[in-house]
Symmetry: C2
Subunit: 421 residues, 2 copies
């Protein structure tokens, strides 16, 4: 508990569970918990710092089948699930023996986040952002987005009875507009590209003190939601860390938070502190972090994205340098794959495991394949692949490549002939 200046300028007592402060990732400067995202000393990004106390496996296991079983590891009140929310998380960890065989490795697990309420991992981060935003005194849930995040914010706000403001580029595909508009928040199409929309969000966040732009002014809280992917993988493996994990990179936040989750579990004694390697996956058409990794750089040079993996198409990834740190520290690496390989990755996962991933999932699978073929990923070690979104949302990416085996007249003989029987 600590006291801050809340958005509504009313002095109040905050309960954000084990969270104790915001800490600058660059200079280490600490500030009280608040709706801040940049360090007042050096403009570095702020991250949530904690005092966890004792956290026990049995308390987690006795919790709900959602991310709230990890509430004592998140910046949320202990009563978080008393408020209506989408209760994301506890998605399947699938032992993928057929995929492993196809890739020529010993053991692969697929963390299938398509099972979340709006079918992407964004439900996790938005749920944490909403819980923190409520406590911080915000009244409106908002975001700039081109897809999964828009769905998650609009749905979470509807469920909670909050207003939402979702800004999208007006050129967005009709299907992605519909899947947000159905929740009936304030969906605003902006004549401009995603950069324009993002800039507008930052401006509006400054002007409207009760609007929580989940990925702008409450970003430190929002980002922590991705830790739950790491927690769940470890718990589902029977409270242990995997040897290797492949994570797609957009802003890079998810990769660093999965690593943070693994480290916290080790430090708290919830798992053995065994070594693990973190690998990053990008589409070649937007691979600034992979390029920096391969060049041995510490900074990431922005690019103009051009890839079908739109949910990963962030040309100037905010967490790029931290991704490089994480990957190098854990002895992992970063690879990138062509759009052609992305589609093949989607098809390989669907064909072998019956899981239909969005393009980002295709990036992860195809990157894993490349990492194996190039000897970067150990085929005898156990590997987890993060599948973070649903193929139903990116049908356009596969529509020219797949279809019926045959079209036949309505006769059994015709079916047999088509099947070569």
């Amino acid at each position: 508990m600590t006291t801050i200046e809340a958005p509504n300028s009313a002095q109040q007592t905050l309960d954000l569970g084990p969270a104790r402060s915001l800490v600058c990732r660059e200079c280490g400067h600490q500030v009280p918990l608040a709706a801040e995202f940049a360090c007042s000393e050096c403009f570095g990004p702020l991250e949530v710092g904690y005092d966890f106390g004792t956290v026990r496996r049995e308390d987690i296991e006795a919790g709900p089948q959602s991310i709230w079983r990890y509430r004592n590891l998140l910046p949320v009140p202990s009563t978080v699930d008393a408020h209506p929310n989408t209760d994301p998380g506890c998605t399947r960890l699938v032992r993928a023996d057929r995929l492993a065989k196809a890739l020529g490795v010993r053991r692969i697990w697929v963390k299938d986040d398509t099972g979340n309420p709006t079918h992407s991992f964004k439900d996790r981060v938005v749920a944490v952002a909403l819980a923190a935003a409520r406590e911080l005194g915000f009244k409106v849930l908002a975001c700039p987005s081109t897809g999964n995040l828009a769905n998650a914010v609009a749905a979470a706000a509807a469920r909670a009875g909050w207003e939402s403001v979702v800004l999208i580029p007006s050129s967005l595909e009709r299907a992605k507009i519909l899947t947000t508009a159905v929740y009936d928040g304030a969906l605003i199409a902006v004549d401009g590209n995603y950069d324009d929309v993002n800039r507008l969000a930052t401006e509006l966040a400054a002007d409207h003190e009760d609007w929580a732009f989940v990925n702008v002014n409450v970003r430190p809280y929002y980002a922590e939601g991705s830790k739950t992917l790491g927690y769940e993988v470890a718990e589902q493996l029977g409270w242990r860390l995997p040897d290797q994990i492949v994570v797609p990179i957009a802003s890079g936040s998810q990769l660093t938070k999965v690593d943070k989750g693994f480290r916290e579990l080790g430090e708290l004694g919830l798992v053995e502190q065994s070594p693990y390697r973190v690998f990053g996956a990008q589409a070649t058409g937007c691979s600034p972090v992979a390029a920096a990794f391969k060049a041995g750089h510490d900074v990431v040079t922005p690019v103009k994205p051009d890839t079908i993996a739109r949910s990963l198409a962030i040309g100037a990834p905010a967490d790029g340098p931290y991704v490089l740190d994480t990957v190098r520290r854990t002895n992992g690496s970063i690879e990138n794959v062509s759009d052609e390989e992305v589609v093949e990755g989607i098809r390989l996962l669907a064909r072998t495991e019956g899981i239909f991933a969005e393009t980002a999932g295709g990036v992860t699978v195809a990157t894993a394949k490349k990492l194996i073929e190039t000897g970067q990923l150990d085929p005898d070690a156990e590997t987890v692949l993060l599948i973070t979104g649903d193929g139903l949302k990116t049908l356009d990416a596969v529509q020219d490549r797949i279809g019926p085996r045959a079209t036949v007249p309505p006769s059994a003989a015709a079916v047999r002939e088509a099947l070569g029987l």
Copy 2:
């Protein structure tokens, strides 16, 4: 355990768990467990009969987070989850206070089956069909379908490493073709309507003794999968039955199996045998069971379907008479709603609870509203609504009704003006 003539004509010992025989729902004639679906005496439909022995809550609660926690109540081997399968079930039961308020009733729960692996309840029935089919000696998983079932069969077969044969009308929407084709089974488009496709499936099932058409020759096992919806609702309510439940009607099988699940739990002492009322929901454009109910008939007169709720568009529902029995026995009723009301139902659920249902879910919500408004459903009793499929699959149904609030230039002032601020 019993001995039958398996499809491959090899004598073998069957393990279908507590299942003991197939029983004719019309004349009560019993036959050994086998790949039969019609009574040899009277051509009535066969249903699985059981000898459950003792089943305890704690054994179920200690089971996996999937329908297999109920394996001792299903026609599957006790080792069922040792084989790769999609592990469906254990979807959210959402307390829907905002929907309840909008409808003017005390308490509503939404059973949200969009969280299943291919985002509909069909994953449940297909998983049970596959498990039984494996035990019965089949080698190929097959179905005629126009949507959700095709997705579920193709995905389940891919995951299990089985061949699949999925027959669809060639006129099916491109999106529904893609979401099945991606799993790379034998997807065959047939130049004909769904009736033609269905007839073809029956013919092929007779010709190919190792093809399990899930909803034809292994239908008695397949249908039992829907019992798990009833089991989960009761367990998620804290091991008790709800007062009222609203279930969409296609073939009618799901409604009768939810009721069967509730009755079994009561008979086994797993819940108190409290009275409950079962309500059926149809789209007016395909409402033969509602019509029969209202006319006081015991038989259902087939209709030619014309509704946007395509997953419910079965004009000659096989289980229609049993639906009428169930609804009358439990003091429920059956209503039907227009396509306009279906879309409003989808929007109401999305707006109040952040859950985006397919058209069948819109039918359920709109029917609940009508049942309340007409005094058929008790507003002071607790009601469960079954949402059995995902809105991402029926975007065409809402595409002309929803969209952005406004399209604006990239300026904060323009956004504020659009929001009336």
